[in-house]
């Protein structure tokens, strides 16, 4: 069934969009990532104009993250206090990121920067998670090996300490604020919610338990993505509500399944899957940059 999208001005198959939404929804429920880094390239691929794809996927991210968050709230795996601190950092970061983005656009080549950002961050994060999860699985299989307790590092020696009861942490608010700001900057430049950076940052930098990380990440992604959606809608008029609706119907259903799948799996398995996914997308983007494209020319609509 073909549907004509009023803002994107293209006609696409409705079931294809439901499928894409569903697939990304499953992933977002399982891993606590918004799925922006997957859904945006998929929309490019089926011929949605890039500006519309970027803006609309942020709206879809709000929906699937909200659906998954509710499931996490019921299981009390959301650290609201930590989420709020991260969010404050995130909003500061995305404002800075938008300024940086506009400055880079005035220099040209912003597309290349976005692609290189994707390759670099997906590659580094994916590889780190993959290695770490493999080690964790090896340790679990070999109980004779001594489990190394997480050491107290510089993160734990900073002032303004706060109690994060759900996470079981008593640390300074400065590291979460910094993480939030950094992710906010990247999110604005790369046009994603930032979950795939936030999740590992919370695990490895802040030392939060994996189960709490996902719900907390979703909590803050909803606000950042919602903020971005309204920003896109008011400045560029590129949010396509029909496209968003089809994606999010698939997405919310997928997210519910994803959350249940996630509960059944072990934390290490979950992390190794997310790592493979991140590395896969990274490889695809890197190949696009390295291999000679079949069509050297591309068209962009001039400013109207």
């Amino acid at each position: 069934m073909q549907v004509y999208l009023p803002i994107a001005e293209v006609s696409v198959n409705a079931f294809l969009l439901l499928g894409i939404g569903g697939l990304v929804g499953v992933l977002s429920g399982m891993f606590g990532v918004g799925g922006g880094f997957l859904i945006t390239p998929m929309l490019f691929f089926i011929g949605i104009p890039p500006a519309v794809a970027v803006a609309t996927s942020t709206n879809q991210v709000v929906a699937s993250s909200f659906s998954a968050l509710l499931a996490h709230l019921k299981r009390r795996t959301v650290d609201m206090v930590m989420g709020t601190v991260l969010l404050i950092g995130g909003l500061i970061g995305s404002a800075l990121g938008v300024l940086l983005f506009n400055y880079l656009r005035s220099l040209g080549q912003v597309d290349l920067l976005v692609q290189l950002c994707y390759v670099l961050f997906l590659g580094v994060i994916g590889a780190l998670m993959f290695i770490e999860s493999l080690n964790a699985i090896r340790r679990a299989k070999n109980p004779a090996a001594r489990v190394v307790r997480r050491k107290h590092n510089w993160v734990h020696n900073l002032p303004i300490k706060m109690k994060f009861r759900v996470s079981g942490l008593y640390i300074s608010v400065i590291p979460p604020l910094m993480v939030g700001t950094f992710v906010g900057i990247l999110a604005a430049i790369m046009g994603v919610g930032g979950g795939f950076i936030m999740v590992p940052a919370m695990i490895y930098l802040l030392g939060m338990p994996t189960k709490v990380v996902i719900g907390t990440s979703l909590f803050q992604i909803i606000f950042v993505a919602g903020f971005t959606t309204v920003l896109h809608a008011t400045t560029n008029h590129t949010v396509d509500v029909v496209l968003a609706l089809l994606l999010l119907i698939g997405g919310v259903v997928g997210a519910q399944f994803g959350t249940r799948l996630g509960v059944r799996m072990k934390a290490e398995q979950l992390r190794i899957l997310l790592a493979s996914l991140v590395l896969g997308v990274c490889t695809k983007l890197a190949i696009d940059l390295l291999i000679k494209p079949t069509e050297l020319y591309s068209l962009t609509m001039g400013l109207q």
Binding site: V3, V230, L290, K292, G302
Partner: protein, 250 residues
């Protein structure tokens, strides 16, 4: 001398009015609805004559349909430090968002070069003012035409017009689903030995209607409201799915 000029004018006038186009269109407008999948426009007509069919020269019919002009940037990638990046671009002031040209015979038989320049009939002639600091702007123009042809937006339909008895003609032109909204212009040319002897122009408005129209207007005129509406939709869909799944589990 004056007599000679007058007699030439008198000779020329009936020649111009001798053959005229009478046209019909299957659609006088195209409505883009939620389930729009593109549209076939049937262009048909007849050639009206006061005199018998001149048989010594070759008659041709050309039909063009052009979408609204839009500026476009054409980028070319080059290898820089091992990766492929956009290096050069050419800005086109105005290129039709859609262009189809159908003829009754091969293009070179129905249209000569000078008339093509005058009336801007073939696709390259419709692209206006290519600018930029590149030496090979022709390669960029060809790329623009190639990419849009692959997308079905530019169509060259040589010999697609049925011309019967040098009098009745008909052709169907397919408008793809990814149409730009605006006023489309249909032009029909009648040629003799490659020279245009009559031209007929009509407009086909292409408009979004119903829900599509309403959403488009809302997004542009009440952007904040539209943005908030999108968010509410997203939140309620997320909540709804969660509630339904919660009930199913019980």
């Amino acid at each position: 001398m004056i007599r000679l000029i007058l007699s030439l004018i008198f000779l020329a006038l009936p020649a111009l009015a001798e053959e005229e186009i009478v046209l019909g269109l299957s659609h006088d407008q195209v409505a883009i609805t939620a389930t729009f999948e593109g549209s076939d426009i049937l262009v048909f007509g007849a050639i009206k004559r006061e005199v018998p069919i001149p048989d010594q020269s070759h008659l041709g019919v050309i039909v063009t349909i052009a979408g609204p002009d839009r500026p476009v940037d054409i980028w070319r990638k080059d290898r820089v430090a091992g990766i492929w990046v956009n290096t050069q671009d050419v800005e086109v002031d105005a290129a039709p968002s859609f262009y189809a040209v159908a003829t009754s015979a091969p293009m070179r038989d129905v249209l000569n070069h000078v008339e093509d320049l005058n009336y801007r009939i073939t696709t390259p002639r419709t692209i206006k003012a290519i600018g930029g600091q590149v030496s090979d702007s022709l390669a960029f123009m060809n790329a623009l035409i190639r990419i849009r042809t692959d997308a079905g937006l530019y169509q060259r339909l040589e010999g697609a017009i049925d011309l019967e008895e040098d009098t009745l003609f008909r052709t169907a032109i397919t408008l793809p689903a990814n149409l730009t909204e605006g006023t489309y212009e249909a032009r029909i040319f009648l040629t003799r030995n490659g020279r245009v002897i009559d031209e007929y122009t009509t407009e086909i408005p292409v408009r979004k209607v119903g829900l599509e129209r309403w959403l488009y207007n809302l997004a542009h005129e009440h952007a904040l409201l539209y943005g908030i509406m999108s968010l509410i939709l997203a939140i309620s869909a997320g909540w709804g799915a969660s509630a339904i799944f919660g009930m199913l589990r019980r």
